[in-house]
Amino acid sequence: MKRLLFSVAFLACVAATTPAFAQQSGNLRVDFQGPGGHSSGAYGRVSALHAAARAVILIQQSLPAGSYQITNLTGGNSVNSIASDGLIELKLTAANAAAYQKLVAAVTNLAAEGAAAENKFRGVKPGDLTSGAPATVRSAVTPF
């Protein structure tokens, strides 16, 4: 319900700030970084790829239809390793610059939410270490 309210509020916000004459679109990459490790020996660590997938679903549930298009989802280095990296590439389209920035901010928040969900599922929190390396999965959003 909380997510639905966010989505409705978001749609209202985008609609309220959208002049019809200044459509803006752009591409974002959302990187996820985690510790990775052996699929069996390090089982229980967070997966950056699992976090990325969680984030895609959050984006799907939260952003207005037609405002985004996922153009890539990738990550991991082998079938028998926990993915240390995940990447979402997406194209955003908004009616104007202000609405576009809101979309970017939403994706940034939802990426962090996806990472947080993965961290929560595996019971790790910021500052935790695994064999000396950061134990959490983190997200970063950059335009390209």
């Binding site: 510790p35 997938a53 989802l73 990550g75």
Partner: protein
């Protein structure tokens, strides 16, 4: 076996070999060889560069003739009936320590193959994912003081300025950085206090130090004219990691995944792996690569998305709890979606044609392995169905996301019903003889190792390691690192492997007597050779 163990372990030829390996010069040669081999990238099923360098050194530097190299550059072992696995050649690198058995008038053979003992360690590594298409493929070996935190990102790793140097021939340059990296420590605490460094390179922990030392041992056996009765093959094996699907062992044991049978075309009688310590039970695994294919776009282009369908599947899988997470006492069961990728949209378009994921599931028992598979396998379709439903499209129809099985991997689980076999006996007795074991007992744990194949072909198998690291972590991750351990431990481990292998193969002792093979000349198999 006790007498054989004692005789072999104390044989003057063996002791001379060990004395030779105990010098500072030999320790340095081993260390340099490891550094020079580990930097050669060797992704699963693309091990050709590393296999080629091992082949080159076997003849050019390690004292073997071409006839003693049992593997070919094209990935073929002529006597195997399984030279193509999953449609690809198999880049094993094997050398033989020739035994005397084939010269006997009463020698028995299986379809032209005299008995052999296999000692092997894998040469493939999970990073990098693929061989680089252009440029120098060599991996940069980075050095970092313990006082600094373990790197958190690949970018931090790449930014470390300190790295080892190699000359045009691939030889390590013995400069100040080499001296720092070459410091020897007993453990992490001593390394931290004594100016040790983390040496970052994929394969440090899994498992090039042990495999590299297997070839040191082979060369030393050749140099010291160690003669077994049965042949001993020493191999660097391909395809243990990633989608390798145990290809190297399938070639050696003629193992047919679909049938679950091994023809043992080379007639191995016992197997010794070098990746661990004394495992006798082997994890089973199922692996799937699933492709999510988008429908041909229509009208405005709005329709089910391959990446979103795959994301839905991964997100659902990510929430699965395994039997061991749900029930106390259930065998430890694991899974992960290890890799995913998407086909780029055609030029000028944004619709992704397809995406693929790879998932790994493991458990020591078939029941729990099947349980996790039963939970995860339907989620592939659930992801596709969820995406189709968003657009009102029917599953399986031309306008919806469709699924395709791209690849299926299987490591059959193996639970030892009995450990009364020659490999375990020799493995334990060699440890007792050399004082590293006090009792003939095996652990109850399970490993997912190359040994899955011989175990499921009926060949007795046991593991050792030839590596010595003071510390290490990050296996299978971009931050895999290690610190050099004591060379003496490597020599002790060589002693044990030599003793165990020669107990099984038989051995011509320095006093002219012969320790007979501890097992008959016909290896087991679960299928007849098809050649």
């Amino acid at each position: 076996m006790v007498a054989a163990s004692e005789k072999i372990a104390n044989d003057p030829q063996i002791l001379a070999l060990l004395k030779d390996q105990s010098t500072d010069a030999a320790a340095k040669a081993r260390w340099n060889q490891f550094l020079e081999l580990v930097r050669i990238p060797s992704p699963s099923r693309q091990e050709n560069l590393k296999a080629a360098e091992i082949h080159r050194r076997l003849v050019g530097e390690w004292g073997f003739t071409q006839a003693e190299v049992m593997t070919r550059a094209d990935g073929t072992i002529p006597a195997s009936d399984t030279n193509i696995v999953d449609g690809l050649p198999v880049y094993n690198a094997c050398v033989v320590i020739k035994g005397s058995y084939s010269g006997r008038a009463d020698a028995q053979q299986y379809k032209g193959q005299f008995p052999k003992v296999l000692v092997e360690g894998h040469i493939d590594v999970v990073n990098p994912e693929e061989l680089p298409k252009t440029g120098d493929p060599s991996i940069r070996i980075k050095l970092q003081p313990y006082a600094q935190p373990v790197v958190a990102t690949p970018e931090e790793l790449a930014a470390i300025p300190e790295e080892l140097s190699f000359d045009a021939r691939g030889r390590v340059v013995e400069n100040d950085r080499y001296a720092t990296a070459s410091k020897i420590f007993a453990n992490a605490k001593e390394a931290e206090a004594g100016g040790g460094v983390r040496i970052y390179v994929p394969g440090y922990g899994d498992m090039m130090p042990s495999t590299s030392n297997a070839f040191v041992l082979a060369a030393a056996m050749k140099k010291h004219k160690i003669q077994p009765v049965y042949d001993i093959w020493i191999c660097g094996t391909a395809g243990e990691e990633g989608k390798g699907n145990l290809a190297g062992m399938k070639q050696l044991y003629g193992f047919d995944q679909k049938a679950g049978t091994g023809s043992n075309p080379l007639n191995f009688v016992a197997n010794f792996g070098l990746e661990g310590g004394g495992t006798v039970n082997f994890l089973g695994s199922y692996r799937f690569e699933m492709k999510f294919k988008a429908p041909v776009p229509r009208g405005s282009g709005s329709g089910p998305s391959a990446p979103e369908a795959m994301a839905a599947a991964i997100a659902k899988i990510a929430d699965v709890k395994t039997p061991s997470e749900l029930r106390d006492g259930a065998p430890r069961t694991t899974y992960t979606v290890g890799r995913a990728s998407c086909e780029p949209p055609p030029a000028g378009r944004t619709i992704v044609p397809s995406c693929s994921l790879e998932v790994d599931m493991r458990s020591p028992r078939t029941e729990t392995l099947d349980e996790i598979r039963k939970n995860i396998e339907p989620l592939f379709q659930a992801g596709a169905s969820a995406e189709n439903a968003r657009y009102g499209r029917k599953d399986g129809g031309p306008e919806g996301i469709t699924l395709e099985l791209m690849w299926y991997g299987l490591r059959p689980a193996f639970v030892a019903e009995s450990v009364d076999n020659i490999a375990v006996h020799a493995g334990l007795q060699s440890g007792i003889q050399l004082g590293v074991l006090t009792s003939p007992t095996v652990g109850t744990g399970s490993g997912s190792l190359n040994d899955n194949v011989p175990a499921n072909t009926g060949i007795p198998t046991y593991q050792f390691t030839l590596a010595s690291s003071a510390a290490g972590a990050g296996g299978h991750a971009f931050w895999e690192w290690g610190t050099r351990g004591t060379p003496a431990a490597e020599v002790e481990r060589m002693h044990r492997v030599l003793t165990a292998a020669l107990i099984v193969s038989g051995f011509h002792a320095a006093d002219g007597t012969v320790v007979p093979p501890a097992i008959g000349p016909m290896g087991k198999r679960t299928r007849e050779v098809a050649r």
